[in-house]
């Protein structure tokens, strides 16, 4: 989203869907309905959705659900998927035990 985004844009009413209770982010157990509702609450970026719902913040670090969440958000915002910037990539790329991370061997 390079462009200026008006957060008051009308997304229409939140209409429940039959598969709203389907889990999308399995690490954090976030459902499709929660993600859709979050968009209606004003969370327009993947970063905001993550911070609001914890999608992609679990052990798999979004490896599984990133595209799924993106598709739902894009759909809800009625924009194409590629305008949504993915969340930041942060070290460590794989979860690592504190005592291992603490031990610097060189």
């Amino acid at each position: 989203m390079e462009n200026i985004f008006d957060r008051s844009v009308d997304l229409g009413e939140f209409v429940p869907q039959p598969d709203d209770d389907m889990i999308v982010c399995r690490c954090e157990e976030v459902t499709k309905g929660q993600i859709r509702q979050a968009v209606h609450d004003g969370m327009f970026t993947i970063t905001e959705i993550r911070r609001y719902l914890r999608t992609g913040m679990g052990l798999c670090q979004g490896q599984t659900c990133a595209k799924l969440v993106k598709r739902i958000v894009a759909n809800e915002l009625k924009v194409s998927m590629d305008v949504l910037e993915p969340a930041s990539s942060r070290a460590p790329m794989r979860p690592i035990e504190m005592e291992v991370f603490a031990r610097e061997n060189n």
Binding site: A66, S89, E104, N106
Partner: protein, 526 residues
């Protein structure tokens, strides 16, 4: 802090290829891989690869992996396994988890070749144990020797879904069906035909409605979808399965590049979030290179060439070779890469329906819609001819960049010509000696030997066979059609195994003469 000329993350086809090129030019190269075995996807690939002789066609994937490892070791590359790169920090610093701690490394150039991860799709019950990625199934079977399940449904008709379905059959699983929401098979027709003739039904324009079960998968319901991918009411079909495999595409694992600050783009054609890079794999940050699936989803053969190009370019970046050498060497590789990107499945044709072959022959719509060529579609292809005595029939009907069969025949009776994507044709002026080299050489298992005048009223069909246990000569059973249905009784008259066949066995069955062009697989009498 340990220091190298080049740090490569990922010991898959592209990473190893890059390492070999760089090390051969004098660079001090280390390759890190988080897995306990090197080779990335290659070691899961037990099938023969497509392509040209120069690029390891008809060699099985894991053998290519072994060859690359040997080459890398001879070139002096250090490959560190069980080494998880946890971050790519400022100044090309790589932090790696090794053993009970982390280690800091720096290099003057870094090549990211981390590959891709599997996509998922959601449906009711998709989080149940038993719903797995096709790649995961492949890892279980081919690396760890574990059957992922007994009865499996495969979602996705791309090459991954097709190849893994065949491997599931080889592992002794029952594949109850191959499902794809698209109206046509996405992968190579020859891969589809291979599983269709084993009796796996194709459900195109179908997708999964739900996975059933409480603690694990016990069944699955699929249904037809219309043009808008909406379920067609009343079209539901149920299967008892314990495993659902998802082969619905890959996403580049490009997080390290994003962390390093490389310019990224979301490019659906390349599979998702990828670094912006030039034709040599150079990213927006000088000295950081990419190769393989992380820069755009393709397959192992192009990953290897991409790796070579990036390795050569890294050598030039650090002054180990001059610009001229880099350009010359890269040009050779690019030509090979262009060769691989030809034909019906070329990147430019993705998502398009190609209705005619390069030769102007209408493609088999039955193959695209059901996974096998219909009997009445077969005769129009140049690989199909008829004459007395043994002769090859090549059911290779799509333009794909592959030509080992041409060189396999000692009598040169198979012609592809200069253009690697051309359909193989039979040179009828040459007599076939029935050696079967062409049958074993075909990565798509699409070549058969026919003797239409084998015995009075009977024909002999020689087919490639990669299942165990091998049938015995004299054994009675059934001939299966291209659709996997029983078409006739059959008797095994010969089973040939040879080192030169590389584990593709040649099974010759005797069938009624009118079944010569119909029987394409063999099933033992129950």
């Amino acid at each position: 802090m340990k220091r190298f000329d080049l740090i490569i993350v990922g010991a898959g086809p592209s990473g190893l290829s890059a390492a070999i090129e760089a090390a051969n030019r004098g660079m001090n190269v280390v390759v890190f891989d988080e897995n306990e075995k090197p080779g990335g996807q290659l070691f899961k690939q037990i099938h023969k690869f497509f392509g040209s002789k120069e690029h390891k066609a008809k060699v099985r994937g894991f053998v290519i992996g072994e060859q690359l490892l040997k080459e890398a070791s001879e070139a002096g590359v250090t490959v560190v396994l069980n080494a998880t790169v946890i971050g790519l920090y400022q100044d090309k610093e790589v932090v790696v988890k090794i053993g009970d701690g982390v280690e800091h490394y720096k290099a003057d150039s870094v090549l990211i070749a981390t590959g891709a991860s599997e996509n998922m799709v959601t449906f009711e019950g998709w989080t149940l144990p038993g719903v797995i990625g096709a790649g995961a199934a492949q890892t279980m079977m081919n690396l760890h020797g574990i059957k992922p399940g007994q009865k499996v449904l495969m979602l996705g008709s791309g090459n991954v879904g097709l190849v893994v379905s065949f491997q599931l059959l080889q592992a002794g699983c029952e594949v109850v069906g191959l499902v794809d929401a698209a109206p046509r098979v996405g992968g190579y027709g020859v891969h589809a035909a291979k599983i269709a003739r084993c009796g796996v039904p194709f459900y195109l324009s179908h997708t999964i409605v739900k996975a059933e079960g409480t603690d694990c998968v016990t069944g699955v319901t699929i249904a037809q979808v219309d043009k808008n991918f909406q379920f067609v009411e009343g079209s539901e079909k149920h299967f008892d399965v314990d495993t659902i495999c998802l082969a619905v595409g890959l996403s580049p694992m490009s997080q390290l590049l994003k962390m390093a600050g490389c310019k990224m783009e979301d490019n659906p054609k390349r599979g998702g979030q990828v670094p912006i890079c030039d034709e040599f794999g150079a990213t927006s940050i000088p000295g950081i290179f990419v190769a393989g699936d992380v820069s755009g989803i393709e397959e192992a053969s192009s990953a290897m060439i991409g790796g070579r190009i990036a390795g050569i370019t890294a050598a030039q970046y650090l002054g180990f070779i001059d610009k001229e050498e880099q350009l010359t060497k890269c040009e050779e590789n690019k030509k090979a890469l262009d060769g691989l990107r030809q034909g019906m499945f070329a990147p430019k044709n993705r998502g398009k329906l190609v209705e005619k072959t390069e030769e102007g022959i209408p493609v088999s719509m039955n193959l695209l819609e059901k996974g096998f060529i219909a009997n009445d579609e077969m005769e129009r292809f140049p690989g199909v001819t008829h004459k007395a005595g043994v002769h090859p029939v090549m059911e290779c009907t799509q333009n794909i960049p592959c030509n080992p069969c041409q060189d396999a025949c000692p009598k040169h009776c198979i012609k592809i010509g200069e253009k690697i994507t051309s359909l193989p044709a039979v040179d009828e002026s040459v007599d076939c000696i029935g050696c079967g080299m062409c049958v074993a050489s075909c990565s798509g298992q699409a070549i058969f030997l026919l003797d239409e005048t084998y015995e009075e009223g009977f024909a002999a069909v020689t087919l490639p066979y990669e299942f165990l246990p091998l049938p015995k000569e004299g054994e009675k059973g059934y001939g299966l059609g291209r659709d996997g249905k029983v078409v006739c009784e059959a008797e095994v008259v010969q089973v040939k195994t040879a080192k030169a066949f590389d584990h593709t066995n040649l099974l010759t069955i005797k069938v009624p003469a009118d079944m010569a062009m119909k029987a394409r697989f063999y099933k033992k009498e129950a």
